[in-house]
Every structure is written in structure tokens, then in C-alpha cells.
Symmetry: C2
Subunit: 457 residues, 2 copies
């Protein structure tokens, strides 16, 4: 049993690992067994933040006092038998495009730096209902687009942590919090998670509410989770899922383990974009899985994929321009170069181009249901084109954006480390609404791959 | 026809009167007849603001550039035959507890002074749909409660303009804008309107959306309008009314003129609170109306009224405490004395006290339907206990709060000026959802009373 940790104390790295690298489910069991107090858990997160935030810059704001008040109240609840489930007392981070009452939602902009939110976003409300402790707001690139943020990649500070959910990925990778909310329009959850060697979930389109979240492109925006392992993604997802439209109650999403050890790959998907480290590591992964009894079936890339990236960019540009136009014209100084380019591209797009893109998107959504032989089938692809590049970019979004465009759920988990010490992620995509099956397959793969995250930061 | 007025030019008082003291309906006709451009109309409002705002302090922010852009776009629309109706191009003010995209919603607080709204409140969206030009945000007391604001009463700067919608009332009274949005939980529309010698509408509870408005007490909060005459209240109300729940379309609210010249008064209502100027003026009003053929029927005050003020305060205190508690505990310096007292009172109230109050409120709502012999019946009472008192207070809310509590629609219009030069308002209350009939009765009375607002400010 761990002793009481005074606020602000630095912990030796092996102490934090003992606690913080466990799954949320294990932490929850420890808390209920009396082996860990949730006050201690929070203090260990805050101590990690004290120790590594200066080098990492994952946070816009950490509200330690408020987190301590939440933890105290939640500890008191548990003491009185009110148990909110596995997230009860678990510290989490919230990407800074998502409203947390009493904290500003700057969305990576100067103009909104003091724009205090009067209300929680729907997902934050849901996290509080589930007992999570909101520790603070994590860094996002400006307006959740492509301009690099201040956050460092904890594996190598010369590399990008990816974007736009850069702070959430770096905070989880350095064990400052077990999990954090992210969002993805192109590849903003899966890419930073993969570059930082942690797990990410981009759910099915519209399965998590975007109410109270700064939009980038409403037809492509997804709210999701970054966490240290697949089980934690599932616990977080259960808390933030929207009620079923008809039943008006929360669906239960329990990971469903796969019936057979079988995966489908898409032959040559974005091959021209992949660097050699990824090509080699992904080949080894497939061989390794085959050795372990998995059937890896290679199928051709659907022809409709050829148009996806072009149309994805059109939709994103037009919708970003639609949301930002007035503000952009008046406060152009708040818009960094890549965001400016995106908006200007959107403003210069004709309605027919946009209509074509949206039509293609609608058609591929229908087509996609024919790709899956059965409900639990998963497609295995690389999460990114390679390891994290240098900091002039947040990386290539192609491998992630295709799934944002179609709205299918994806999970990334780390599976290898390159020769120069950078993590690589695999990506699983499933049919719409099959997060439960996707969690199961991801857990099975997580058990097969030989990856152990070192102490970072 | 008025010539083009360069921005920022001061107008002689008689020029602004020629334009700004007309009804919105008349202005709309002038605009369509080519006798007035809506650019000129806006410039005249801005010139009035330049001339009198320093002495009045009605505005938190005037966004002249943005207003000019709106006016130009709306002028262009009219030129191309797109006519949004009577509010097309009419400049309006918005109380600073209501979100206007790109402007902060400070709600009278320092902490939210830079809390820029990302979206318009529902009512502001509706005003824009109707073609209104949003000129800026008007001063509110802190959190729309009782602590006096910086705004001066344009009739006498030693007196309060009333609260909490003090800026909206003063801006209309000085002809800076023809109309402005206000809100009322106790008496925050009717009281400042009456103290400033203008008209006010507090609609039926829940008939105007509160989405995007900082709450004070959700079971008592009402969104409404302050304007120079009853016709303008009706035009504004038509724009902001919520769609009928079932039809999901905007109901049409055309003023219905009364079938008979008959009013009901409540004998001795709050008599102990009325000062002699109001008692005498209200008696003269009744006598004058009788001479003009009106039947004024006096009825006893319903016994249930005795408990109203006590329970009103309980509900308001508890609900204000509920919304503000966390913020109040952390940032107590943002809470002025009366608001502090209200919240502390709320925090000290037992659940059973609150439940009693809510039960009483529910019962009186049902009882109130028995007070009205027919759909168009109006109750005539004083709007306030007397003329505006000194600036240590925003005035006694009793005469207005009773109607906020029951949720019935009320209108105030000025009917007299006291010996020391302060206006007095009458108040009409109708059955729920009878705004159309109430407008008709108010227009009939407006034609009977001898009141002409001088140039103020």
C-alpha cells in the first residue's frame, strides 16, 4: 500500500509506474480494496505533472485545487457507498476545444484565451457523472487543425507529438493522467496517439456528442479518447457514448473478444506514403501474427478510396471556412499559416465541388457496409505513414483521415519501436457501431505484440 | 428625405427625434418608400450613442464596425428584393447576459469580461433572422441581480435606472436604439423600463428561449423586450417567440384590440409599498380612464398573493446559489454585496423550504387561470411602487416579481411624470399566452394617456 503523498512532491519514476501504468479497471479494484486512495492517485498524477510538464508542455491549464476538491468529494461518496463505477476518482485531461465549466476554452487561439466556459460540454458532464476527476485542459493545435503546437513528443523532443490532440497524447504518454479526451477531423486522435506510443479511439461518427466542442468540420468531427491501453479506451468510451436515439439510455459497450483469429489488410493502402521503417515493421507484425496463428487476409483497396483524400480536404476546408469566416476576416492575426491556407481554400471552393465531395462521402458510407463479412471483422492497417517527423509539421493525416471521412470506428495501439527509438502504431477499423467488437480485437492484439512503454518525460 | 450622415457626426436633437422616435413599423415603411436608408438609420443611432453614452453608460460594448457591416449587407438584401419584415435593418441592443457571437458575455462580472461567446444565443439568432442589426451589449447589474450598475437614469442622474436590464432601458430612453433585449427574474424588465419612461414586455414564462443566456433562477427567468412604444414591443416579440411546441413553426402574434373598454384592478395590491406620488397618479389615471368611457372593476387581491414575495425570494436564492455556488466559493471577489447575500441565503435554505416555495408557485399558476373571465381580460396595476429611487438600490421589485413568479405576461408603459420630473409606469398583466390581446389593450391605453417622452441624455 502506498503512503500518503504530500501535494507537489516529486516521485521517483518507479513509484509512479507502480500505480500509473496499471489499467483503470485495476486502479478501480485497488481503490475499492483499500490498497489505493483516490486522493493518492490524484496526487501522483499531479506530482508527475510537476515533474515532467515543463519538458512536455501538454497542458494549457492544470487546475490542481479544483481537482483536489473533486477527488475529496468523490472519496467521500465512495466512503458512503455511492460508487459511480470504474472511472470513479480517475484523473483525466480534456482537450482544449472542449468546454469545461470555469476554465477557458482557448482552442489554441489567443483571442479565446480568457473565454471562460459557463457550462461543461456534454462529454465532460458525462465524465463527471461517471466520477472522473477533471485535471485540466490539454494543448490543441490552433482550432484543432494542422499548425504545430508547443507540445513536445515525449520520446524525442525534436519530433512532433502529432496533432491536433497533441497535449492529450503527450500527457498520457508521460503518465500524467491515465486518459484524456481528444477529437479527430482528419487524424487528430489516432496520429498523436501513435506518434506518442499510446492507444487511441476514434469512435463511429456521431456516437459521442459534440455539444460544447469548438467545431472544425461538422461532417468529419469525432470526439474520442487517448489512453495507455485498450481496456482504458473502453472504460472511457462507455462513459461518453451518446444514449441510443430510440431507447434514450446509455448502451453498454463490453469488449467482445473475437471468435476467430482473423484480420483483413488492404493491399498497398497509401503505400506511396509509407516510409521504410513502417513498411518493414508492419510486415514483421503480420508475419509475427501469422506465426501466432492469426489469418491475415489481404484484400484490394476499394476503388472509391482513390478520391477520399481530395474530397476529405474539400469538406474540411469548406466547413472550417464556414465556421471561421467572419472571425477570420476580422482577426486574421489569430490564424496561423496552415489554418489560414485551409480557410482560404474553403472560401475559394465552389458549391458544386463541395456537393460532389459530400455526395462521394455519402456513397462510400453506404458502400463501406459491404466490406465487412460479419459484425466483428476488423481491418488492420498502419496508424501512420511512419514514426513522428520533425516539428515543422504534425505529420501526414492520410492513414487516419480516410476513416474519419467514412465515419468508421478505429483504434490505434503501439506495436513496435524504430531503430532510432520512436514508436509505431497499428490501426484497426471496424464496421459502424462495432466498438465493442473492435475493443475485443484490439485487446487480443495488444496481448500479442511485444511493446512496453518506457518511462517518458 | 434625410441626407447621408457621415459616421460619428453629432445630430441636433430635433433631427434624431424625427427619425428615432417613430415606431419600428413606421421606420420600416419609410425605408421601403425610399425616404430613409437603413445605413442612415444606423448612423443616427451611432451618432446618438456618441452624443449621450458618456453621460448614460448604457453599453458594455458598441461594435459600430460590425453593425455597419450588418447594415450594409441588409441594405443590399433589400435592394435585391429579400425583405425580412419590419425588423429588417433596425438597430437593437442586447443585454449582456445574452450571448452574441464574437462579443464577450460578461454578465456584469469581471471574471467573464473576456469570455467571448462562440455562438449567438437562440434569441439573437432569431433577431438576425428577422434582419435586426446588433449594435452591442447593454449594461446589466452583476449576474442580473440587485447590485446597482454604472448606468445613469437619463431623467435624473441622481436616480437609479432600475435593474437588472439597466442599460437596455437607458439606451432606449435616450433613443440610442429603438429597442433592446432584457430579462426578468424579479422585476428586471418592467422596473427599469418604468423608471426610464419607456415600454417593457415580460412575456409568458418559457415563451422565449433562454438558450445561450446566463441563468439567474431558471424557474423564474424570462427573456423580453424594452422599446419606445407598445407596437415596437410587439414587433420584437414576434421575432423572438419560440416555435409552438407541436407545430414547430413561429406563431403569429398580431395585436388584438380589446372588444370592450374594461380593465380589472386589484384592490390594495402592495398598498403598503406605494409612495404617494404613485398612489395619486394611479388614482388620477383610473379616473381619467373612467371619464374616457373605460370600466375599471376593482377586485380583491387573491389571498395566495400574500405568500408570493417570500417564496419568490426563496426560489431565486436557491437557484442562484445552485448555479453560482462553485464559482462563488472560488471567486468571491466577483460577487457584490447583494448578490453575495442572495447566494448565501440560498445556500442556507433547506430543501423543504424550497420545495414549499415551488409547490406554492405551481399551485398559483393553476389558480391564476381562474382570475381571467375571458381571454383578453387585462389586470391594471402600477408597474412600480413609485418613481426611481436614489442609486443605492435598483428599486423595489414587488410589483413586478409577483408576475414573474406566476409566469403571466406583463407590459409596462409610461403614463405620468411626477412633480420632480420622473416618469411613472402602469402595468398590464394578462392570462398565459395572451400577449396578442395584451398588446391590443396596451395600445389602446397608450392612445389614452397623455405622455410624451422628452429628449433625454
Amino acid at each position: 500500500m502506498l503512503g500518503k503523498t504530500p501535494a507537489g512532491n516529486k516521485l521517483p519514476p518507479n513509484v509512479h509506474r507502480a500505480v500509473l501504468m496499471r489499467t483503470i479497471t485495476d486502479l478501480a479494484a485497488d481503490i475499492r480494496a483499500g490498497n489505493l486512495s483516490l486522493i493518492d492517485l490524484l496526487e501522483q498524477c499531479l506530482a508527475r505533472i510537476d515533474a515532467v510538464e515543463e519538458k512536455t508542455r501538454a497542458w494549457v491549464v492544470v487546475d490542481a485545487d479544483c481537482a483536489r476538491r473533486q477527488a475529496n468529494r468523490l472519496a467521500d461518496e465512495l466512503l458512503h457507498g455511492h460508487d459511480r463505477g470504474p472511472l470513479h476518482g480517475i484523473p483525466v485531461g480534456v482537450k482544449d476545444i472542449i468546454d469545461v465549466a470555469e476554465l477557458p476554452t482557448a482552442a489554441g487561439s489567443k483571442r479565446w484565451a480568457n473565454a471562460i466556459a459557463r457550462q461543461d460540454a456534454r462529454v465532460v458532464e458525462q465524465l463527471r457523472q461517471a466520477g472522473a476527476v477533471i485535471v485540466g485542459k490539454t494543448v490543441t493545435t490552433a482550432f484543432a487543425a494542422f499548425d504545430p503546437s508547443v507540445t513536445n513528443n515525449p520520446w524525442n523532443r525534436g519530433r512532433t507529438p502529432g496533432g491536433s490532440s497533441s497535449g492529450s497524447a503527450a500527457a498520457v504518454a508521460t503518465d500524467m493522467v491515465p486518459a484524456a479526451l481528444g477529437s479527430q477531423t482528419g487524424g487528430s486522435i489516432i496520429r498523436p496517439a501513435a506518434y506518442c506510443g499510446v492507444c487511441g479511439l476514434k469512435p463511429t461518427y456521431n456516437r459521442v456528442s459534440l455539444q460544447g466542442v469548438v467545431p472544425l468540420s461538422p461532417c468529419l468531427d469525432h470526439l474520442g479518447v487517448i489512453a495507455g491501453n485498450v481496456s482504458d479506451l473502453a472504460v472511457m468510451f462507455q462513459a461518453i457514448i451518446q444514449p441510443d436515439y430510440e431507447a434514450q439510455r446509455l448502451p453498454t459497450v463490453t469488449p467482445v473478444m473475437p471468435q476467430e483469429k482473423k484480420l483483413v489488410t488492404l493491399d498497398g493502402l497509401f503505400a506511396d506514403r509509407q516510409d521504410s521503417a513502417m513498411v518493414e515493421a508492419f510486415e514483421s507484425l503480420k508475419n509475427d501474427l501469422r506465426r501466432k496463428g492469426w489469418v491475415i487476409e489481404s484484400r484490394p483497396v476499394p476503388a472509391s478510396f482513390n478520391e477520399v483524400l481530395k474530397h476529405h480536404r474539400t469538406i474540411m476546408a469548406v466547413e472550417a471556412a464556414n465556421y471561421h469566416e467572419e472571425r477570420f476576416r476580422r482577426y486574421s492575426e489569430d490564424y496561423p499559416p496552415k489554418m489560414t491556407e485551409l480557410i482560404e481554400r474553403g472560401l475559394g471552393t465552389t458549391a458544386t465541388e463541395y456537393a460532389q465531395a459530400r455526395e462521394h462521402q455519402s456513397k462510400i458510407v453506404y458502400e463501406s457496409s459491404t466490406w465487412f463479412d460479419h459484425r466483428g471483422m476488423a481491418i488492420l492497417v498502419p496508424a501512420t505513414s511512419g514514426p513522428a517527423p520533425d516539428r515543422t509539421t504534425t505529420g501526414d493525416p492520410a492513414h487516419q483521415a480516410v476513416w474519419s471521412y467514412i465515419g468508421l470506428p478505429t483504434i490505434t495501439l503501439p506495436f513496435a519501436v524504430t531503430g532510432d527509438g520512436l514508436p509505431l502504431g497499428l490501426q484497426l477499423a471496424g464496421a459502424g457501431q462495432t466498438e465493442a467488437e473492435l475493443f475485443g480485437t484490439a485487446m487480443a492484439l495488444e496481448a500479442e505484440v511485444d511493446f512496453r512503454r518506457p518511462v517518458l518525460g
